[in-house]
Structures are given as structure tokens and as C-alpha cells.
Homo-oligomer: 202 residues x 4
Amino acid sequence: MPRPSVEAERKDQILRATCQVIAEQGYVNLRVSDVAKQAGVSGGTIHYYFDSKRDLVHAAFEYNFARSLERRRWILDSPDDPFSRLRFVIDSYLPVDEETIEAWRVWAALWAEGLREPNLQELNERMYGDWRRLVASIIRDGQDSGQIRAGDPVQFANMLISMIDGMAFQVLLHSQNMTVQRMKATCLAYVDGLSQASPSSK
Amino acid sequence: MPRPSVEAERKDQILRATCQVIAEQGYVNLRVSDVAKQAGVSGGTIHYYFDSKRDLVHAAFEYNFARSLERRRWILDSPDDPFSRLRFVIDSYLPVDEETIEAWRVWAALWAEGLREPNLQELNERMYGDWRRLVASIIRDGQDSGQIRAGDPVQFANMLISMIDGMAFQVLLHSQNMTVQRMKATCLAYVDGLSQASPSSK
Amino acid sequence: MPRPSVEAERKDQILRATCQVIAEQGYVNLRVSDVAKQAGVSGGTIHYYFDSKRDLVHAAFEYNFARSLERRRWILDSPDDPFSRLRFVIDSYLPVDEETIEAWRVWAALWAEGLREPNLQELNERMYGDWRRLVASIIRDGQDSGQIRAGDPVQFANMLISMIDGMAFQVLLHSQNMTVQRMKATCLAYVDGLSQASPSSK
Amino acid sequence: MPRPSVEAERKDQILRATCQVIAEQGYVNLRVSDVAKQAGVSGGTIHYYFDSKRDLVHAAFEYNFARSLERRRWILDSPDDPFSRLRFVIDSYLPVDEETIEAWRVWAALWAEGLREPNLQELNERMYGDWRRLVASIIRDGQDSGQIRAGDPVQFANMLISMIDGMAFQVLLHSQNMTVQRMKATCLAYVDGLSQASPSSK
DNA sequence: GATGAATGAGTCTTCATTCAT
DNA sequence: AATGAATGAAGACTCATTCAT
């Protein structure tokens, strides 16, 4: 008699493995058999839980996005002041630790693939929207408390998160000109510029 | 008597076709035979000029980057004031016309693939560096003429170009929350914030 | 519950088919798909058990050699007198029956290919050495019993087996001057010359 | 106006190159373009002189055989005694110098290919027959002069040349058990056994 | 639930051959 | 006489997918 949770457990195990393989080898080179090996199951088992390779990868993309948001949900609920929380956001996205780097690499694959996959575009719209709202709400908090200068909080959020995305790619490409340190400094400089006393001034 | 430039001509023709196919179908689905069809030559001809599919795609990435820089070189030499030139930069990168969209899609493939291809990383370093320097030099001009506020011009440049990259991706993913219009407005808002009078609001 | 020996069984089946195809068409014209057809399996199955065409053919060479030795092992243990056993050896190598002709043709392919394949050279060294030792031991027996004249048994063996190889090739090439009958007669004449009464002696 | 001898000259040059390539890479791996490179001409030129790859290789086989016989014709006309001439024969076939090794390797390819090419079988019949007759005539001379014992000279010749062929293969396969020295010693031992002093006959 | 043997469609790649110049 | 650009048929190899056990 099968445990009711076997399926969820097994799927989780397979999706985690899929993310690892995508991060390591990219989508182009991903073979179902590699995922199977990584997950420690047989190739047949993968297809027992996922109808096709496409389904598998799409599910992995969703899994990656969801886990990523989850891992940052605490920032929203943090009692710290908005600036600190924005800095948490930045820190949490710096591609320094294994986990974050893997997540970035999976996003890279998702975006590349999403260019011609409506399903993935919807996924991005949904998940990325959550993420944008999270940042915007922090900014709005800052404006409410008078720490952050006036302006469209969504626009500020878009500037910050798109900046993070753009620089993260360069870091992942091992650019000599864009190291993690410089990425962090640049993001922090942007956030500092949001303060009331703000811009440059000096 | 051999044609003087059959090779250069043919390679160009093939690389242009390769970029089109990458833009349309992505790297994952690119078939050498599709490139051949697009270029109007036989499959054998592709391999006559390029040793492997990998070589072909890498050459196409370089071709795409080079053409992109070339198409924007005029901005550097423009007699217009720095702010106008920054706006030209932004305009030239908005994914509106076919040509620019195609270029963005090829970059997307390059970046996704570059995560594990040192050759592509070097290519990105070289070409993207040129691009960063181009923007930074415009900003430096603006600072010299007193129109742009003080600050590290390279950092400003990095903010702008990474922002462009990040938002362009969302636009290409057909995000409802990030249209071309919003991308343009956001970039322009950032550039406006660079002015001496600056402090945004206030 | 997996069949205990599907793999061994299938490999055997494929190797037998490979030998047949090599014998019929030679290595130059061997197509993996021909082997598949001959073995009654799909092309994919061949690659499921052998990494490459090269691996397949090498394994077939080994298989052919091993089977050949096995088929003659009884001569070594035969209770008959040395001369009879040498005649058995000769008989067993005459390219008359289908099985022996096939084996010769595979050896021909092996030797041609072995000229530049260290792996095949090692294989030949190992297997051919067994074969040489088998013949030499018969000759040694004959010398011990006084039927065969003095002399280096290995040298005698080398003369006999190299003679067999050289003539077999001519027979296989359908030489009018070297028929199976003449080959047999010539080999027997050589063996007869090994008798005590005979040559060398002084 | 083309030199009348250009064709013969060019063909010779190409055939020599073909033999070199066959010797180096074998027939399986021979590419027409390799022959072209080796001959210092273009690929098109090969087909200007030879209708197909098959024709080219067959012509090369003939060329190799003819050159080989020519190089040994002097032994037939030598004023030396039959035993010396047999020793010359043996020496001339030991795979020691580059030229002889190359010739052997081409023969190996010819024989492997000849198993299913009637044209090559005829070629072998013709050329190998010359070679057999050459050796037999030396033996006949020896019998006439009383130096070589009675017996069918063609059978003696077949023993010797097949022995040479068989051992040469083992030498070419770099057998540890069959070195050039041992090959030479074994052949000489066989020839010594042909002397009158040495019984056989009865 | 899970396996892994087997499949065969899909592609890259090779290379003999052709032919305009 | 000679070239080398171009072709396209051929074939090795990959791998998602199926299914009997």
C-alpha cells in the first residue's frame, strides 16, 4: 500500500535534481537520464511522474521560482526598517552561495526558454510579479515613514530589480568588470539614492 | 580565378541566417539544416565553412554583438549633448523593431549558453565592456560639461545598462507589467535623475 | 525481476551478428544498421550495449578469436598421437566450411585494422599467443615421444601457423594457384617433414 | 599546350601519395582529400585523373605490387648462388625499412579488401603469381645445381612465401613473440632445411 | 510504484563527387 | 589542367519515450 505522500516526496526529489542539472548543464544539454541519475532513480521513474521532458523542466522552473520567493518571504515580514530590508533583498540575490547561484542559473534557462513558451511567460508574469510587489511594498513602507523620497514605488522597484537581474547575469558570466562586490556596491548606491536627503546632493 | 571574397561573403550570409534562426527558435531547437534553409544553401555548405554546430553558433554570437555595437557607434560620435545621447542609447535598445528584438533574443541565447562556455564569457567580457565604456564615456562628457551630477561614471553606466538588460528581458517575455513604454519611461526617469539639478522630486 | 542474463545473451547475439556482417562485407562497409538487422534488433539497441561502432567491432574481434580457440581446445586434450593432432590442427583451419571461412574473414579484418590499433595488437598478442603455444605443445609432445625431430618447437610452430595464415589468405582470395587442396597438401608435407626420419637432423 | 607526360607524372605522384595514406591510415579511414593533401594537389585533381575513390585505390594497389616486384627483379638475374638469392628474398621482405613496411601495409589493405573484390583477386593472382614463380625458379635453379634437395619447387616456394606473409603480419602487429629477428631466423632456418644435406625426401 | 531494456525518430557530421571558372 | 566551392546522400549516434515485468 503506497504511502499517500510518496508521490509528493518523489516529485520533490526529482524537481530538486532537475534544478541541479539545469544549473550545471543548462537546458540545451539536459538529458532526462542525467536527472534520473542525480535523483537516484531510474529513467522510467521520471516519466512515471512527468509526462514529458518539457513538463519536467517547466515544473522545475516553477519549483525554482517558488522556492526562491519562499526563501525571501521573511524579508517582507521583517520588523526592520525599509532600508535594511532593501539591503536584505540585495544581499539575498547576490550570487555568492551555491544555492543562490543555482537559482540564478535556472532563471537564466527559464528566461532563455521563455522567449518562445507562453506557459513560461505566464509563470514569469506570476512569480516575477510577486517579487516586484514585494520590493515595491517595502519602498512604499519607506515612503510612508518618510525615509524614502517621493516617486512611483513600482518604478523604483523595477529599477532595482532589473538592475539586480542585469548585473547578476554579468557576475554569472564571470565578468572581470562586474564582480559580486561591485554588484553589491552598485545596488547599495542605488538604494542610498532613494533616501529623502537623497540624490547625490553632497 | 577565384572570387575575391566568396568566403567572407558566404560566412556573412550564413551568420546572418544563424542569428535569425537563434532568434526565432532559440539555441535549444536550432538545427543546422534550418540555418541552411534560411541561408539558402545546403547543409553541407554550413559545415564547409564552420567545423561544428558549436562553432557556428559561437561565431553567430560574435557577429551579433559586433553588429550591435557597430549600429550604435554613431551615438558616441554624435555632436548632441550627453543627455540626448543617453536617450539615443535607451531608444536604440528598446525592443521595438524587428532588428533590435532579434538582437536581444540572440543575446539571451548567448548569456544562457555563456554560463558554462568560457569562450562565450570572454566574448561577453570583450564586447559588453565596449558597450559599458561607450555609455560611461557619455556620462563622463556630461559630468565634464556640468550637466550630470558627480559620481563614478562607470557605476552610473552599470546601473543604466544592467537596468536596460533586466527590463528588456521582461519585455521580451511579454510581461504585462513591463511593456516597452514602461521600460522607456523607467530608463528615462533614471537618466533624468542623473541631472545636476537632480534630487528628483523636491 | 530482471532476467538474469539479458545483457550477456543480447551481447552475444549482437557479436555473432557483427562477425557475420564483417565476414560478409568487411569492416570498411560495415554499417551499424546492418548489424542491427542481422541481429534482429533495432539500431538503438546496438548502441545500448556498445558505446560506439569501434567498440562493437573490437568486441566482435575478441569474440571471434575466443570462439576460434575454444573450438580447437579439444585438439590439445586429444589422446591421439602428435602427428594426428597436427593434422587436426591443419584440417580445422582449412577454409572449407562456412564457419571457418567466416572466422578467417574476420581475422583478415582484424589484422588489417590492427596495424594501427594498439588495442587490437594486444588482443592479437594474447589470442595468437595461445594458439602458438597450443601448436608448440603438440610438437613438444612429439619430440618427447621421439616422433618429431629435434629443434626449437616454437620455431616449428611458427613456421606451421604462419604458413597456414599465409596460404589461407591466398585461398580466401580465390587464387587459382592456391586451392584448399594444395593448401592442405602443402601443410601436410611440411608436417611430414618434421618426422624423425626426416630433414634437418644433420 | 600540355606536356604529354604530365598525365603519367601526375598519376604517379597521386598513386605514390595514395599508397602512403593507405599505409598510414588504412583503407577504412582513407579520404580522398587526405590523398590530395599528401600529393600536394587539390581534391578536384584526384578526380580529374581517377573516376572514383575505388578506382584510385585499386590503381594504388596495382602500383604498389608492381613497384614491389620491380624492386626485387634483380634477385632473379643475380649471378649469386640459389641459397644466397633465397636469403636476398627473405631480407628484402623483412619489414625493417620504411619502404618495405609501407608496402606490407598496403598489401594488408589489399588482401582485406580483396576478399570481396574480384578485381583485386585478379590483381593478386597475377602479381602474386609472378612473385611465386620468381621464388620457385630460384629453387629450381638450386635443384638443378644439386644444392637443393628434390621436391616440388612450387610447393617449397609456397611454403616459404606463405611463411613470410604470415610472419610479416605478426611483425607488423608488433607482436612481442614475433620480432623481425625471429622472423628472419625462422625463414633462414626453413631455407637451410632445403639443402641437399638435409634429408626430407626419404 | 519502479525499473531498465528496447526503440526509432531526429540530427549532426563526413566525404565522395560535381562543376563553374 | 587544375581548382575549390558546393552539394547531398549516407550513416553514426543520441535520447525521449514506451512498456513488459
